[in-house]
Symmetry: C2
Subunit: 394 residues, 2 copies
């Protein structure tokens, strides 16, 4: 149903370019709609949100937006009232150039925390900006590149729902923990969906996708997922729309996990047999965030005992180890490990190593015979993650 | 008051040696007391504790112990009833050789999870073990080495309280999070202290020391802190005893953080101005466990904005950023950063870099004007941590 190629959505135009915020890579991009759109958004739960998140929530409060403007390399966070004023000024400049209302523009910033935006460069970058928006695939690719920070590749996905098209573009990389909307992702569609319905759909979708990934357990101050619908294609079946958006969001979420800072592997983890939904989710998070599990998977070290440790970190629930089963891999290669195997000294370490050597590592932890299960995604922890982050600002 | 040199405690003898559990480094050690001792212990809160923790708690239940036997390289965890039987068998062998009761022996194991102990090697290692215990400084050093896993150096500390001596030996390295007794530490003394008093003292001491360190947020299944008092020196002033034990425990806790897997720096963090003790501790943990802060400190990157992010991860409390102050360094080099500095574009990044280049990095985060503060210790996150842990079992 979803397509990893770009499909053009009528009525939206895009740009991405370099304005020299940090270096000569793309750092400034935008999306513009001919019509005022139904809009929905979910934002970081971090209590120190960036200025653009504060302004974006305000501008989204009536469920209407017409443009999105993004810069990378600087998050405009911890910049207080002056940072908020900077974000509003950017919206005003875009609005003036494009002939729309300033509160129809949603701003996003991603990058280093604790530095004022270089407004001189941004003012220059906004000059004649209305003429830079275009509708080609290249314009969309330029936008996707402009929002990247330590991402190694741009990320997009598209889908058709009835007569309508949906296109999603996202960035991830670091400071990502599965507790909220956890990065920047923008979906645009020509479907006709009312703002309230769109908000409810987006919240459910984000909860099953972006809120289920972890790269490093840190929680960004800038996370934003926004959907714009311009209505040009008319009404669509809403359950089909939600199914497509959900599949697209899971695709992008997995892409973000796979492209986590320094990551070489995607980990897909299911925790099942839990007695409550909370137990399933807490256990999944304890495992997917465990640096010892992430490093073991990086080295394809068959150190399955570390899963036992991580399961035991969820102090609120006890697990009967004689009931615990851990499955590695998929299909006929799937390998089950349990305490009775250990008892018989029959843990197949060589087979386990081979499964852990794959690029996509599937793990299912069965805690018991409870009815609840949760699926989350993460990545391995590598020396490259440390290198990327030890000298981020310099 | 405390001394980083070994002071001999009358009545206790020690050994440490290699029995070939994994390689030719020391992996088996013990402490033996002539007298039955008052004993106290605190153990991991992990719900999947190792077999030795289960047996140790049982043997400690009457507040009396006479010996401690430790192996490294294998944690005897996730081994179910057979693992418990192995630990009890070790206690029986030690007891028989030394002429004491089996339930007077506390067993500890540390190392890989999910493998049965090599009992053949241990049986051989226990032959004539009573003759291996000695009272020299070298015997104590051998013991301290025998309990090491990925520690780069042995750790001990001693103190005098009145006529009594206290000696502490510990190991740390990885799978350490400040939520409990977080590693192996053994204190012996010739002070006379009743078991109940000793237990209360040890619990308070562990809470202010070992429960305040973090290396990687993972929670070991084997953590054990035990204190033995043989009473040979007679009664001591208990508040002096607790003060000395507390100082010793903080010393060892800091040594463990400093020698965390791959660590190159000790981080000492105070969070003050909190409105509740919970806020202070949650914030301190969010910061000390943040991989992005740990990597930035590793690289001496003046990325103070990441502290803002970590503070904002404590969703239960809001912090007024205009009140927030972050101090780096100590004494007259101490550097304060706050939002108004940023406003004036006056953050002294070069001075901050210099402070972060030091081996001991002191940070104080002042959240507001609340009355609560907490101190915790941690270490930087390095490429070496990943290397050590990616291939731990192989």
């Amino acid at each position: 149903m979803i397509d990893s190629k770009i499909q053009i959505v009528p009525g939206f135009s895009w740009f991405g370019k370099n304005i020299g915020i940090k270096d000569n890579t793309f750092d400034f991009g935008g999306i513009l709609s001919k019509q005022v759109c139904s809009a929905a958004g979910v934002f970081t739960k971090n209590t120190m949100p960036g200025a653009p998140v504060i302004v974006g929530k305000e501008h989204l409060s009536d469920g209407r937006l017409q443009a999105i403007i993004v810069n990378s390399k600087n998050a405009n966070v911890a910049t207080e009232s002056k940072g908020v004023e900077d974000s509003k000024e950017i919206c005003r400049m875009i609005a003036k150039s494009c002939g729309i209302e300033p509160n129809m523009v949603l701003p996003s910033s991603t990058g280093v925390i604790g530095q004022r935006l270089p407004m001189g460069k941004i003012v220059q970058g906004c000059e004649g900006i209305d003429r830079e928006f275009g509708t080609t695939e290249q314009d969309i690719k330029n936008f996707a590149r402009s929002i990247m920070t330590t991402d190694t590749r741009p990320k997009w996905v598209s889908a058709k729902v009835g007569d309508a098209t949906i296109l999603g573009v996202a960035k991830g990389a670091g400071m990502i923990e599965p507790n909220m909307a956890t990065m920047l992702a923008y979906f645009v569609s020509d479907a006709e969906v009312e703002p309230q319905q769109l908000q409810a759909i987006l919240k459910r979708v984000a909860d099953r996708s972006f809120n289920r990934i972890s790269i490093d357990s840190d929680t960004s101050t800038s996370d934003t997922v926004v959907t714009l619908c311009n209505g040009l294609a008319g009404p669509v079946d809403l359950s089909e729309f939600e199914a497509a958006l959900g599949e697209m969001a899971i695709h992008l979420a997995k892409e973000i996990a796979r492209d986590g800072e320094g990551a070489t592997k995607l980990i897909e983890l299911v925790v099942s047999g839990a007695t409550t939904r909370e137990q399933a989710l807490l256990t999944a998070k304890a495992i997917i965030n465990s640096p010892l599990i992430k490093t073991a998977i990086h080295g394809a070290d068959p150190n399955w005992g570390r899963f036992v440790m991580a399961i035991g970190k969820v102090f609120q629930y006890t697990v009967d180890i004689s009931q615990l089963k851990i499955f590695f891999g998929q299909g006929h290669d799937r390998l089950g490990i349990s305490a009775d195997l250990l008892d018989r000294d029959a843990v197949p370490l060589q087979e386990l190593t081979e499964i852990l050597q794959q690029k996509d590592v599937y793990v299912e932890v069965v805690l018991g015979d409870g009815p609840y299960s949760e699926k989350v995604w993460g990545c391995d922890l590598t020396e490259e993650y440390v290198r990327v982050n030890a000298l981020y600002t310099t």
